[in-house]
């Protein structure tokens, strides 16, 4: 760890009402073990809660776990809400049960990457390391 290296902060959240957060927790731990600061907000998050948490915690990336099938609503709406708050420099990525056909549409809406079930953790970490950097701040 370099002394004056800025830390990358990632919000991991589980929007909506569905199921469990095992996958999200596994990713959160892997990110921590790779030197990231992970803000974990748990289950059943509304999109407004996620946006406010991202704002207050000044995160650089948001990773969502979606198993409900509502991804075509959740991702574009989140990105819209981030834009409204002037937070569109936050990198949004996600994982879960998402049909491959939907992936190009999600990317067009502004989602940076989608990880399908079975993706190796190392691959996710590597991608985050490459693509999520500390956001610039000026007074």
């Amino acid at each position: 760890m370099e002394k004056d290296e800025r830390k990358v902060k990632i919000l991991i959240a589980k929007p909506g009402l569905d199921g469990h957060d095992r996958g999200a927790k596994v990713v959160a731990r892997a990110l921590r073990d790779s030197g990231f600061e992970v803000i974990y907000t748990g289950l059943h998050q509304s999109l407004d809660q996620i946006v406010h948490a991202a704002m207050e915690e000044d995160v650089d990336g948001i990773g969502l776990s979606i198993l409900s099938g509502a991804h075509m609503y959740i991702f574009p709406t989140l990105i819209e809400k981030l834009k409204e708050q002037g937070l569109d420099d936050i990198v949004v990525f996600g994982g879960g049960i998402i049909p491959t056909d939907d992936i190009p549409k999600l990317k067009e809406a502004g989602v940076k990457q989608i990880f399908l079930p079975g993706t190796a953790l190392e691959e996710i970490i590597e991608w985050v390391r490459e693509n999520v950097k500390p956001r610039a701040v000026s007074l």
Binding site: D33, E37, I39, Q49, P134
Partner: protein
């Protein structure tokens, strides 16, 4: 409008951005803190400490609700340890408080210790300053701590609350060793559990046997249940009583002065040290002095004495 002016208007995003500068120790942080300084020193700061899993975050969540009902603006700083192996951290205290995150009157910030000893992160005091300047009336600082080392919080907070729970036999011992003297309020959480009353009695006994505090404050023991929302009113009452005690005894004021002294001396120490090192390295004498000291041709005590004399001669009256 710049970030600083936005913070003074209570803007969350601007405050979060400045806190990030502070956390990442970027040069602009100091510029921002300079300009916010005149607007700080007003908030009431509550430290919430205790072992992991005691229910600190759950309790803070309820206290936020109560303070909000009274119309007060609330800041929360939740500090969790950085992993010494990876330098990363999982900050999960928000899980218990997320219902407040869309409330414009509440600001919740998670901080990782980033290798700083003493239970708080290096940035904690500055993050509190930013919340204070935002106009928050109450700021709660949650830290993990049971032992003797994690006493930073006492210097930072006006009122320190120790949260404990039934069934932590060994932790009670740790509390006895360290924190008994510094907690202003003892909270026994998970009061819904049958063993809670026994924990309360044990604590009472321990307090009875300990020497009375110099300041004359007698710390109350409050049994609460964060899941059932019981005992919170009594806890709020205890906080109010302690605050009144601080104000009437002049401590509210003197704690602030102590903090100013602490901040000033820390800054001064850092700055003088950095200046001296930069000068020595700049004129090439650093390496020479080190090797002369290493070869016993000089001793470090005289070298430092001579250097500090030079510094005194140069210094002007501020």
């Amino acid at each position: 409008m710049g970030l600083v002016d936005q913070v003074l208007k209570g803007d969350k995003k601007a405050a979060a951005r400045i806190m990030r500068l502070v956390e990442d120790d970027l040069p602009e942080a100091r510029e921002a803190l300079k300009r916010l300084y005149p607007y700080t020193g007003r908030a009431y700061i509550i430290g919430v400490t205790g072992p992991p899993g005691a229910g600190k975050s759950s309790l803070v969540d309820l206290l936020v609700e109560w303070f909000r009902k009274r119309g007060e603006g609330v800041g929360v700083v939740a500090v969790d340890p950085t992993s010494p192996f990876s330098g990363g951290a999982i900050l999960g205290d928000r899980i218990r408080m997320q219902r407040h995150s869309t409330d414009p009157g509440v600001f919740i910030k998670s901080l990782a210790t980033r290798g700083h000893l003493g239970g708080l992160s290096k940035a904690t005091d500055d993050v509190i300053q930013v919340m204070d300047a935002m106009g928050k009336d109450v700021i709660m600082v949650e830290t993990v701590g049971v032992g003797q080392d994690e006493v930073d919080i006492v210097k930072t907070a006006d009122t320190t609350m120790l949260v404990t729970v039934p069934g932590l036999g060994d932790d009670i011992q740790a509390i006895k060793a360290g924190i008994l003297e510094i907690a202003d309020i003892f909270v026994v959480n998970k009061g819904d559990k049958p063993e809670a009353d026994k924990t309360v009695r044990e604590l009472e006994m321990m307090l009875d046997m300990s020497t009375p505090r110099e300041d004359g404050w007698k710390p109350p023991i409050i049994k609460v249940s964060a899941v059932k929302g019981e005992g919170i009113e009594e806890l709020m009452e205890a906080l109010k009583t302690h605050r009144k005690f601080l104000e009437t005894s002049g401590r509210f004021e003197s704690y602030r002065k102590d903090r100013v002294v602490c901040t000033f001396e820390n800054l001064l120490r850092d700055k003088l040290f950095q200046t001296a090192i930069a000068k020595l390295k700049g004129n090439g004498s650093y390496e020479r002095l080190i090797s002369e000291i290493f070869n016993k041709r000089k001793d470090p005590y005289s070298v430092v004495e001579r250097l500090s004399c030079q510094c005194e001669l140069e210094s002007k009256r501020e």
